[in-house]
Symmetry: C2
Subunit: 200 residues, 2 copies
């Protein structure tokens, strides 16, 4: 009976989000960077993360590098697998936001419906859509991973911008074109937006 009693007395002492935010001095959220391959998502994500850590804010980048080689290494590039890839990313982003982290998720995420799903799962109040609107022409000129060349040759199917559409956000929280803006010029408005969110 002792054990049963002990079990009943054991209650779940949940950490409430406010305690977490108070301890960290920040509220968790997701900065969702969307745009074509080569638009500058990863570069801006990393620069932003660096700035935030220097300001003693806890940020963490999710991108193809750490997702495709770990959690999502079982997935290929079929439509089904791409959907599952982004579904998992949304769920992991949500866990990081729950933890109190400023999660910077940098993925092409070409479809409006999936970005809307991200917003709903993560919560509209803590989800920020940042659209890197760099043109296909510039992205293809940069072609940092040689993917556009391969897509043009037909070696890659359903490549966003070539033979698969990119659906631009209608009302992104921020929109920036890395053709004309420097990295710092992109990071700055994101930091300002974040600052406003933290003060809310």
């Amino acid at each position: 009976m002792n054990e049963l009693l002990k079990n009943i007395v054991w209650n779940m002492s949940e950490v409430i989000p406010e305690e977490r935010a108070g301890m960290l001095g920040q509220r968790g959220c997701v900065l969702w960077l969307t745009g074509l391959s080569g638009s500058g998502k990863s570069t801006i994500a990393r620069a932003l993360e660096k700035s935030l850590i220097q300001e003693k804010r806890l940020a963490y980048v999710l991108d193809g590098d750490n997702m495709r080689h770990g959690l999502n290494k079982d997935l290929g590039f079929t439509e089904k697998d791409r959907n599952e890839n982004i579904r998992r990313i949304i769920e992991v982003s949500n866990l990081f936001a729950d933890c109190g982290v400023i999660c910077i998720s940098a993925f092409i995420s070409p479809f409006r419906a999936i970005r809307e799903q991200a917003k709903q799962i993560i919560g509209p109040d803590r989800f920020f859509e940042i659209y890197l609107s760099t043109s296909l022409k510039i992205c293809e000129q940069r072609d940092p991973k040689g993917l556009y060349k391969r897509a043009r040759r037909g070696d890659i199917q359903s490549f966003t911008g070539i033979d698969s559409p990119y659906e631009s956000p209608d009302h992104p929280d921020l929109r920036m074109d890395t053709e004309t803006l420097s990295v710092d010029e992109c990071v700055e408005p994101i930091l300002s937006m974040l600052s406003a969110y933290q003060k809310k």
Copy 2:
């Protein structure tokens, strides 16, 4: 040419783990709680998380509650799905440790091989195996979710402890029996172990 030049100059400014640890005042790690259903994993995980947050250490619990309803909601309970369930949990735990968080992962994880895989993926230096050795008899008496009853009736197949084995850790970092120890008595040695790790 301007754009191309800009692209080349844009370098990836990675946050090194030491900067992250310095900013947070802690090093990320994974506390892996393993044991039978009803052994007290979630209760200890939540109490531990609460203590750590109060000590201004950033901790976050991964357990069935937040994994099965989100990231892993597409998975059932076949052997294949259980393996995939735990594989994803390992990868997400690893991301949290990378972020600098003390990740408390509370899952039955009955097989030695999968716990060894967790240790290798996460890194042996920052992976701690905590074994809740509470006996089947006590766990079945507690039966907090009524799962043992359902397993005995045959409504649940391959239930750990009933018709599926639990392989005890040979050399856990900590071992505790919640039949004889209170929640605080379980949390305390984990905090001490963590303290030693943080000072290393």
